[in-house]
């Protein structure tokens, strides 16, 4: 399993696109927002947590279709399915690799982009904390979506349609936690809910995703 994780990280590094593209996308989205809503720093500060969360979510979405697609096309997925590691573990490792290459850089970049959006001083800690707790759920849910669509032509668009509604609870609790934190309100409840969702999807979705992959390989 560690070998698989190392391989996926190596591939992401060597292919280049892995870290860079998602981050650049996150940056571009954040930069575009003030052009859309106007440069008023009050408005920007108020919506900053939401913008950062939506930007991170969309950046995460970008790389989802690569999670299994390349392995499916070059036959690796067939070989992994006949290898002595359970498909559930493969799914978990893939989700972890996706989080390390897509989610974690976004978490680290968010406070920097927060400056551009005039995020209130109290918000920096909470945007990082909420993203840190919430982005693993985005990766796992996305991995499930990728597993469902792996064998399909035009899978990418369908993947977004399937995954985005599933992101709703994560987005709601994530932004609530960040927004309330930024405004100095109590945000324990949304943080706990967010942590609960992350833990729940980590425990349960790999089974559903593994079942979907086995169906797609038949």
């Amino acid at each position: 399993m560690i070998a698989l994780l190392v391989r996926d990280l190596k591939l992401a590094m060597r292919a280049g696109g892995g870290f860079g593209l998602g981050l650049a996308f996150f940056l571009v989205v954040t930069v575009l927002v003030p052009f859309g809503v106007g440069p008023d720093s009050g408005i920007l500060g108020a919506i900053a947590p939401g913008i950062l969360w939506i930007g991170a979510l969309l950046a995460c979405l970008l790389s989802l279709d690569r999670i299994f697609q390349l392995d499916y096309e070059d036959g690796s997925l067939d070989l992994l399915a006949t290898a002595p590691i359970p498909m559930e573990s493969v799914v978990l490792v893939k989700a972890l690799a996706h989080w390390l290459t897509s989610g974690l850089p976004l978490v680290l970049a968010a406070p920097v982009l927060g400056v551009l959006l005039n995020l209130p001083a109290g918000g920096y800690l909470w945007i990082v904390v909420s993203l840190l707790i919430g982005t693993p759920a985005l990766s796992v849910i996305g991995t499930f979506g990728a597993a469902i669509t792996v064998g399909l032509r035009r899978g990418g668009l369908l993947l977004s349609l399937l995954v985005l509604p599933l992101y709703v609870p994560v987005l709601i609790f994530g932004t609530e936690a960040a927004r309330r934190g930024a405004e100095g309100l109590a945000n324990t409840t949304p943080l706990l809910m967010l942590a609960g969702i992350s833990a729940g999807v980590l425990a349960l979705l790999p089974f559903a995703a593994a079942a979907a992959i086995r169906v797609n390989l038949r």
């Binding site: 469902i148 899978g155 349609l161 609870p169 709601i172 809910m193 559903a208 079942a211 169906v215 797609n216």
Partner: protein, 242 residues
């Protein structure tokens, strides 16, 4: 003879063929009676005026929108456990009806909301939940459409339905947490103060039963169509294989 015998495709075609007309006629009569009663023989509400009458379409369609998803969930579980082809085709049929009912509930809600709240749309928890439900239906139906092999499609949509059901409930909770909302509480719970008065309630029950029968009839008709399509697909595939 076990109950599953009735779900054997050929038997299913037989008994549903006889039942569908009965359901269609009953649904038409009940909806006709309920709507006529509700539209012309009930007083205007003291607060909402005549706009209240859209309730006779809005509430039943909203209920069917949720019932259709519940039926999809049960049918998907039956497919996963017993691999019964008719059940998964019925799930697909229910999704088509469900998405339409959701759309009707959303549109009638907007039409009702305009005079009452002064806005076509508000990000109220119930409205938002229905919009999310609509997105779930779209995803489910799009997945069916995207997959050629019927068994693969059945398996993947069933898995999606199970996972989606959990997330739909989660979303409902999250949306409640997110915004408290304008929408009135449940119209039909027995202990609520703001419960609708009997004069409105009686025709509403009639239309709801009517919508229920309409739902059953539509699901049966669509399932029959799906079964024929599946049969056709199998024959074509066999033809190709020589």
């Amino acid at each position: 003879m076990s109950i599953w015998e009735y779900a054997n495709p050929r038997k299913f075609m037989g008994w549903t063929g006889r039942l569908v007309p009965v359901f269609v006629v009953l649904a038409a009569v009940l909806i006709g009676v309920g709507l006529t009663w509700g539209f012309f023989f009930t007083p205007d509400d003291y607060r909402m005026g005549a706009t209240v009458k859209i309730i006779y379409i809005h509430v039943p369609s909203a209920m069917m929108a949720i019932n259709a998803w519940v039926m999809m969930l049960v049918a998907s579980l039956i497919w996963i456990v017993r691999r019964h082809h008719v059940s998964v085709l019925a799930a697909r049929a229910a999704a088509g009806v469900g998405v339409t009912m959701t759309l009707i509930a959303l549109i009638t809600g907007a039409i009702w909301g305009q005079p009452m709240w002064g806005t076509w749309w508000a990000w109220d928890p119930r409205l938002t939940s229905f919009l999310i439900l609509f997105l779930f239906y779209l995803g489910y139906l799009a997945l069916w459409q995207a997959i050629d092999d019927p068994d693969t499609a059945a398996d993947l949509t069933s898995v999606l339905c199970l996972v989606g059901s959990v997330f739909a409930v989660l979303s409902r909770y999250a949306v409640n947490f997110w915004n408290q909302g304008l929408h009135q509480g449940a119209s039909l719970s027995l202990d609520k103060e703001e419960n609708v008065a009997d004069v409105f309630w009686q025709p509403l029950v009639v239309t709801m039963v009517g919508f229920g029968l309409l739902f059953v009839a539509l699901v049966l008709i669509r399932t029959r169509t799906e079964i024929r399509a599946r049969r056709l697909h199998a024959l074509e595939a066999r033809e190709r294989m020589g």
